[in-house]
């Protein structure tokens, strides 16, 4: 029962290599601060609208994001709701989602953001996340457009069906109530839309649509969209959350303005893997 040094020495070396190597990797891939995934959002700046942001943290982090502010417009810090978190397989990373309710955003002057008299749409790029220990992290989020609700008579369109699927495709169908001419397709994230998504209006690609489009009462306007495969998308758009508005503007037969917002939803962040995060970390160092 003597210990055989020819066996024991290699085992001891293997144990040492395993410990040193794993601790090195563990330390190397620990996140110093959460990774906020890009979001490209266009939402009405009105009561009842909210959106979700996603971030990745270490599995052992207890310091969760609880407050958010928009430094570009000097908002007060406001509470956010954690909607879910789950561990990412084969890693020390956790995927978290927080929901931001626009009606809870207050400016420094105490006024709610949605109650401001601004008529212009609001465009923001930066966001500050604050943890429960008070740590503040500022990020370039992507782009956020908050569309000021316009009090235009909207009796020309009738909402039809809306459908979206997990494969990042979907469609919206509208019915026209009166004779209508669509004269303008407004999209604050136009460049992004053409890059990440294929959109068709009644079967015609968005880029080939010739305006104006005329419709009779009862006609259907079908907007179909299909997000391109991630591999064809630029790195900065990967693992992103998209809510891209497409505003149909026109006039009815009386010459009254007609307007309808269609939202194109896509999420690519659900497929993020440990390998993706390690790649992001390498790129950021």
């Amino acid at each position: 029962m003597k210990l055989n040094s020819k066996i024991i020495i290699p085992i001891v070396i293997a144990i040492l290599i395993s410990w040193v190597g794993n601790i090195y990797i563990f330390d190397k891939y620990s996140l110093e601060k959460p990774i906020l995934l890009n979001s490209y959002l266009g939402l009405p700046l009105a009561e009842g609208y909210n959106f979700e942001l996603s971030y990745v943290s270490n599995i052992y982090d207890k310091d969760n994001i609880i407050l958010v502010s928009f430094p570009e417009i000097n908002t007060q810090s406001f509470f956010v709701t954690a909607t879910s978190d789950n561990n990412i397989a084969d890693s020390n990373f956790r995927f978290n989602r927080i929901r931001i309710d626009m009606s809870t955003v207050f400016l420094e002057n105490g006024k709610r953001l949605i109650d401001t008299d601004e008529t212009e749409n609001l465009s923001l790029k930066k966001i500050q996340l604050i943890t429960n220990s008070g740590k503040k992290y500022e990020y370039d989020l992507g782009k956020m457009y908050f569309l000021k609700q316009q009090s235009l008579p909207n009796n020309a369109f009738k909402n039809g069906s809306y459908m979206s699927s997990n494969s990042n495709s979907g469609s919206s169908t509208l019915t026209t109530e009166t004779d209508i001419k669509i004269t303008e397709l407004v999209n604050p994230l136009k460049d992004l839309l053409s890059e990440v998504c294929e959109v068709n209006i009644n079967g015609t690609p968005l880029s080939s649509v010739r305006l104006p489009l005329s419709f009779k009462p009862g006609d259907l306007i079908e907007v179909k969209y299909n997000f391109k495969n991630n591999t064809g998308v630029k790195p900065q758009f990967q693992f992103s959350n998209f809510i891209i508005p497409l505003v149909l503007k026109g006039i009815d037969y009386k010459g009254n303005p007609a307007i309808m917002n269609i939202y194109i939803n896509g999420n690519t962040q659900y497929y993020i893997t440990a390998k993706d995060i390690k790649k992001l970390l390498k790129e950021s160092r």
Partner: protein, 189 residues
């Protein structure tokens, strides 16, 4: 000489089987190590090899006692880069346990050899070898759990069960040794 073997059996039962009533472990590990130290002290009169396990038992008795008041949590959600040394404590426990198992198995092996009890001798040798290699395998695998490979985490769990089973086999070995050696003493008398 039944008493030291019984102390070792109880010691291992206290260490490897944890029965909790609420937050209280009714089979505290530190008591198990005290039993083992006492059992090894008794058997050291027969064979000096048993002495090798006494100091590790005393160290582990103290360490286990301190851990009652300052428990360490090595679950994945508690290990951070700044406290991953905590995993080293469980590794140190494994190494010291291995020294204790060596002194027990080697002692039984040598005693069996003297009495030409080949079955017991072979059992002691086999169980020690299994305990040695599976503990080493576990020591190699444990740090991989830091990086959460799902396969490794599953494999480490299986190894833990095997180690528990091997500890149970060593309890049975001690049981058999207690009966066999005392039978031989009675026959000599």
């Amino acid at each position: 000489m039944r008493k030291p073997y019984s102390q070792l059996i109880w010691g291992l039962v206290f260490i490897f089987f944890n029965i909790n009533i609420g937050p209280i472990d009714i089979l505290p590990n530190f008591l198990g190590y005290i039993f083992i130290a006492s059992g090894l002290e008794g058997l050291a009169q027969v064979n000096l090899i048993y002495k090798k396990g006494i100091i590790p038992s005393v160290v582990l008795a103290f360490a286990s006692f301190i851990l009652i008041f300052y428990p360490i949590n090595t679950s994945s959600e508690n290990i951070t880069p700044s406290n991953c040394w905590m995993l080293g404590i469980s590794a140190a426990f494994s190494v010291l346990n291995l020294v204790i198992f060596y002194s027990i198995c080697k002692g039984i092996h040598d005693e069996s050899e003297k009495l030409a009890n080949n079955d017991l001798m072979l059992s002691a040798k086999t169980r020690w070898n299994c305990m040695l290699y599976f503990t080493c395998f576990s020591l190699i695998l444990t740090p991989f759990t830091l990086n959460k490979g799902q396969f490794i985490v599953g494999l480490n769990f299986v190894i833990s069960l095997i180690l528990l089973f091997l500890a149970f086999l060593i309890v049975l070995l001690l049981w058999k040794a207690r009966d066999e050696f005392n039978k031989d003493i009675s026959l000599e008398e």
